[in-house]
C-alpha cells in the first residue's frame, strides 16, 4: 500500500470544546497540522472548496446543522477532504447513512487516543480516495461494490464490523478475522489490487446468523491445485506449503483458508470459486 504523507492538515469539527482541545494536542503531537470548528457552518466556512485540508474529523451530533449534512456538503466541494465520522450515536442508521454519503471511516466515541492516531495515520490522500458504491444500506442487508485496493478493505471492514459491535468480543473477533481474510483474498487474487476492478460485498443479518457474500472479479481457482495453501499440509508439517510458495514466487502466507474455516460455521464457494459465502450462527439475543 502506498504510504500517505506523514503530516496531515486536519480540521476537527465537534461542539465539545474539551474534545477539540484533546484531539488537537494529540494530533499535533503526532506531527499533524490542526484547526478546529465548533459547528457545521463554521466548519464549512473554514473548508471553502476543501483544498486546504486533507482530513476532517467530524462529529455527527452538532448543533444547528447535523454532521451528516456537513458530510454531504463536503462531498460536493471541488477538492473534498476525507471525512472520518466520529460519533457516540451507535445506531446502524447513522452508520449506514455515513457510508451512503461516502464517509471515509467511522469511529465510535469514546475511543482511546491510539485509535484516532491509527485511523489518521492509515488514511490515504484525498486524491487517491475511491468511492464505495452503495447498493443497499439496510441494517439487515448491506451491499457494497468497491474497487480492489487494500485501503478499501480497511474501510469496508471498519464499516461492516461497526454494525456488529454489539456482538460478544470472541464472536466479533472471529467474524472480523474471517471476513478480512476473504475480502483481502478477493482483492489480491481476484482483483489483482487493480482499482478499476470491483469486488461486491453483501452482509445479511438475521437474529440467528450473520452471512457475508464476497464476489470477486477473478476467474476463481481450482482447490485441487492449492499446494501453496496450508489446508493441503499434512498434520505433522504445518509449513510444507511455504516451500511451494517460494518455488512459485508467492509472498509468504497461505494460511487464510485454514484460518477462515476454523473461525466460522460455514464456508461455501460457488463452482468457479470466485464467490464465497461465510456464515456465523448466533445464539438468540447476540
Amino acid at each position: 500500500m502506498a504510504q500517505p504523507p506523514f503530516g496531515r492538515r486536519i480540521l476537527v469539527v465537534d461542539d465539545d470544546r474539551g474534545l477539540r482541545h484533546v484531539l488537537s494536542e494529540l494530533l499535533q503531537g503526532a506531527g499533524h497540522t490542526l484547526a478546529t470548528a465548533g459547528d457545521g457552518p463554521e466548519a464549512l466556512e473554514m473548508l471553502g472548496d476543501g483544498s486546504g485540508f486533507d482530513l476532517v474529523l467530524l462529529d455527527i451530533g452538532l448543533p444547528s446543522m447535523s454532521g451528516l449534512d456537513v458530510l454531504a456538503r463536503i462531498r460536493t466541494m471541488e477538492s473534498p477532504p476525507l471525512v472520518i465520522v466520529m460519533t457516540a450515536d451507535d445506531t446502524s442508521a447513522t452508520l449506514l447513512e455515513a457510508v451512503r454519503r461516502q464517509a471515509y471511516r467511522y469511529i465510535r466515541k469514546p475511543f482511546p487516543p491510539s485509535a484516532i492516531i491509527e485511523v489518521v495515520s492509515e488514511a490515504g490522500t484525498p486524491a487517491s480516495a475511491l468511492s464505495i458504491e452503495v447498493i443497499s444500506a439496510k441494517p439487515e442487508w448491506l451491499e457494497l461494490v468497491a474497487p480492489c485496493t487494500l485501503e478499501m478493505a480497511d474501510r469496508i471492514q471498519s464499516f461492516v464490523l461497526h454494525l456488529e459491535a454489539h456482538l460478544p468480543e470472541a464472536v466479533l473477533e472471529a467474524v472480523a478475522s474471517a471476513f478480512r481474510e476473504l475480502l483481502t483474498n478477493a482483492i489480491e487474487w481476484g482483483g489483482k489490487f487493480d482499482p478499476n476492478r470491483k469486488v461486491r460485498i453483501s452482509c445479511v443479518r438475521t437474529n440467528r446468523l450473520l452471512l457475508y457474500r464476497i464476489a470477486d472479479p477473478g476467474e476463481g481457482f481450482d482447490i485441487d491445485k492449492l499446494r501453496h495453501a496450508a489446508i493441503t499440509n499434512p498434520d505433522d508439517d504445518p509449513m510444507r506449503h511455504l516451500q511451494v510458495r517460494e518455488e512459485q514466487g508467492l509472498r509468504p502466507g497461505g494460511f487464510g483458508l485454514a484460518m477462515t474455516r476454523s473461525l466460522v460455521d460455514d464456508l461455501i464457494y460457488n463452482e468457479a470459486r470466485n464467490e464465497v459465502i461465510l456464515i456465523k450462527y448466533l445464539d438468540e439475543g447476540e
Binding site: 500500500m1 491509527e118 487494500l150 473477533e173 478475522s177 478480512r180 481474510e181 483481502t184 489480491e188 496450508a230 499440509n233 498434520d235 505433522d236 504445518p238 509449513m239 511455504l242 509472498r251 509468504p252 502466507g253 497461505g254 494460511f255 487464510g256 485454514a258 484460518m259 476454523s262 473461525l263
Partner: protein, 119 residues
C-alpha cells in the same frame, strides 16, 4: 507497525507494536529480521503483546522469517502471545513448531546461559 529493538546479551528482543497484516506490518518485520540476520543476530525474541491485529499474511511472514533465522543457525521465540494470536497459531498448527513464552526471562534463557552473559 513499529518495532522497538533492544538487546539482552546476544539475544535481540523485538517488540512489535500495531498491525501485522498484509502490506502493513509484514514488510517492516521482514526488513527488520533480514537486517538482523545479515548482522549475525540470529537469537530473536518477538514480543507480541502489542500486536493489535494479525492476519494470515502476518502469520506467513512470521513463519517465513522463522525459517530464515533457522537456516542462519538461530531461532525465533515468541513472547506474550495474546489470546487471539495464540488461537490463530493453534488453528494453523504452528503451536507445534513455535516456542511461546509468557515471560521474557524464560524466553531469553531458552537460548542457553551463554546468551544472557554474552556480549
Amino acid at each position: 507497525m513499529r518495532v522497538i529493538e533492544r538487546r539482552i546479551g546476544d539475544v535481540t528482543i523485538l517488540q512489535l507494536i500495531g498491525r501485522l497484516e498484509l502490506e502493513t506490518g509484514d514488510l517492516i518485520l521482514r526488513d527488520t529480521i533480514n537486517r538482523l540476520v545479515e548482522d549475525g543476530q540470529v537469537k530473536l525474541v518477538l514480543d507480541m503483546k502489542d500486536v493489535t491485529r494479525l492476519d494470515s499474511a502476518g502469520i506467513g511472514m512470521l513463519v517465513s522469517k522463522y525459517l530464515t533465522v533457522r537456516r542462519a543457525g538461530g531461532s525465533i521465540k515468541f513472547l506474550h502471545p495474546t489470546e487471539r494470536t495464540d488461537h490463530l497459531m493453534d488453528i494453523t498448527k504452528l503451536t507445534t513448531v513455535f516456542e511461546m513464552f509468557d515471560d521474557e526471562a524464560s524466553a531469553v534463557k531458552s537460548f542457553g546461559d551463554a546468551s544472557i552473559h554474552g556480549v
